[in-house]
Symmetry: C2
Subunit: 288 residues, 2 copies
């Protein structure tokens, strides 16, 4: 059976990194892509880059789509414009790519019912905007799908089929589990890493500051990378995943208190054991 | 004038990552390298790898050296074996490569006087041991030299000339400033990153643990890298730079409290401003 996304146009709303990359990959896999852009300049540039077969700023462009991918920032996903809501075809499967799933399901499921599927392709680069989309972004990456009791099985399967077609690895889990997991491994690291940047800045006197910067090496660069990333994205993730992030912060505080306590009392054997545990833990968190 | 390290053999004590890399680079630059290894097997393998012209487990191998580089772990630098101390040639310039400078100067300067130079080539890889040494490790990297009022200017210059010959960038600063700076950008990140690994492990229920690991991406991998590194090295750095590390930890705690407080009260504009500041700060800490 031909997958839905090959028999009818696929709608892509938003042509930033994720939307643009989806457009490129879907077209390469034989789909027809109809995209909605917010601004005329974005639409123009998206056409030039070939991110979709049709690009328009009028939501009517989604009219024929059987499946629509909402690739907007979290805040716009949580408070969609009425014109977008009205333009979604009545029977289309609708999915999103937001990095928090509970609040999105709360916002969309009561209205679209089982044909709304919460999903989260876990891929990213340092770039954003209409120039950022690239081919093959999802290859080998997890693509989380979060079913609920209301979910239409055919809708879930359509999204997973699409994910697999782009080389991603679908993972089904509850929205709450997704949100708790990404709080620990994605949203918490942003704050941990941002605090390091601010400590390295504010923990040095004016005289010491140039030396601190001159001596910072690859270890500091790596540990500070996500803390020095996109401030809007970091704020949106914290804002919309706040309960799970607070729990993750509490776990972090406990772990840091423990290590700091060992330094305070000079328990070097205890510290060595903790660091040995960390060395043993880390490979379990790395992609194969 | 021929630099000292070309007119007489250079001694290298310890043939791990730093000692082995120094041996390779010095030989390539025309120096004769006489190396002291702790164990017979290390000496044998170092000879096979060509890390030095002569390698022995007898400290007498250092007898003719005009300059000796102590490339041992911090604990062995701080409590050197009597046989090593006695074998150092009476007039040789002696320098070390330890990652903490105050305690090392306290240990060595009273005994060797101005011909002991504290130094710290800031280069590293994920590897250690006799197989780890590699050519070009110091190229473009900072090489800190920490003068004191007692330092012999000719000894300081000899070490800096050697550093430059290997492509490193000498930076002179006080030992205390060095130790405060590396506490912020090297020793603090180890604990910050280790606490993240432990939080991601302990902050998840047994049911959630596999999902947390499956969804961890490159951001988590980068932020957790130094926390999952060599436990012995991390412990030695904390132990021997404890006062500066405690100050750095206090600065970190203040920065984290501030961010956590914004999440607690839901001050998203405040959080966005802090993350914007971090994004602006980070390039100042990256190597050109």
């Amino acid at each position: 059976m031909t997958p839905l996304w090959q028999s009818r146009p696929v709608g892509v709303v938003g042509l930033g990194l994720i939307g643009g990359s989806l457009g490129l990959d879907l077209r390469r896999r034989g789909a027809t892509v109809h995209a909605l852009a917010h601004r005329a300049e974005t639409a123009e540039r998206a056409r030039e880059r070939g991110l979709a077969d049709r690009v328009d700023t009028d939501p009517a462009v989604l009219g024929e789509c059987g499946l629509v991918l909402l690739c907007l920032p979290l805040d716009r996903l949580l408070a969609p414009e009425p014109a977008l809501r009205e333009a979604l075809p009545p029977a289309a499967i609708v999915t999103d790519v937001g990095s928090v799933k509970g609040p999105l399901l709360d916002a969309w499921e009561p209205w679209l019912g089982g044909r709304f599927v919460g999903s989260h392709p876990m891929a990213g680069t340092a770039h954003s905007g209409v120039e950022a989309g690239e081919e093959g972004l999802f290859r080998g990456r997890p693509w989380v799908v979060t079913p609920t009791p209301r979910s239409d099985p055919a809708a879930l399967e359509a999204v997973e089929t699409l994910a697999k077609a782009l080389g991603a690895v679908p993972i089904r889990c509850g929205a709450g589990d997704h949100d708790r997991a990404v709080a620990l491994i994605s949203h918490l690291p942003v704050l941990v890493s941002a605090a390091l940047l601010r400590a390295a800045d504010q923990g040095a006197t004016a005289e010491l500051a140039p030396l601190v910067r001159a001596l910072a090496s690859s270890g500091f660069a790596d540990t500070s990378r996500v803390g020095g990333g996109n401030p809007e994205l970091g704020t949106l993730m914290a804002r919309h995943n706040r309960p799970a992030l607070r729990v993750a912060l509490a776990a972090y505080r406990q772990a840091l208190d423990d290590l700091e306590g060992l330094v305070e009392v000079g328990d070097w054997e205890g510290l060595r054991q903790r660091l040995e545990h960390c060395q043993m833990l880390r490979p379990g968190f790395l992609q194969d």
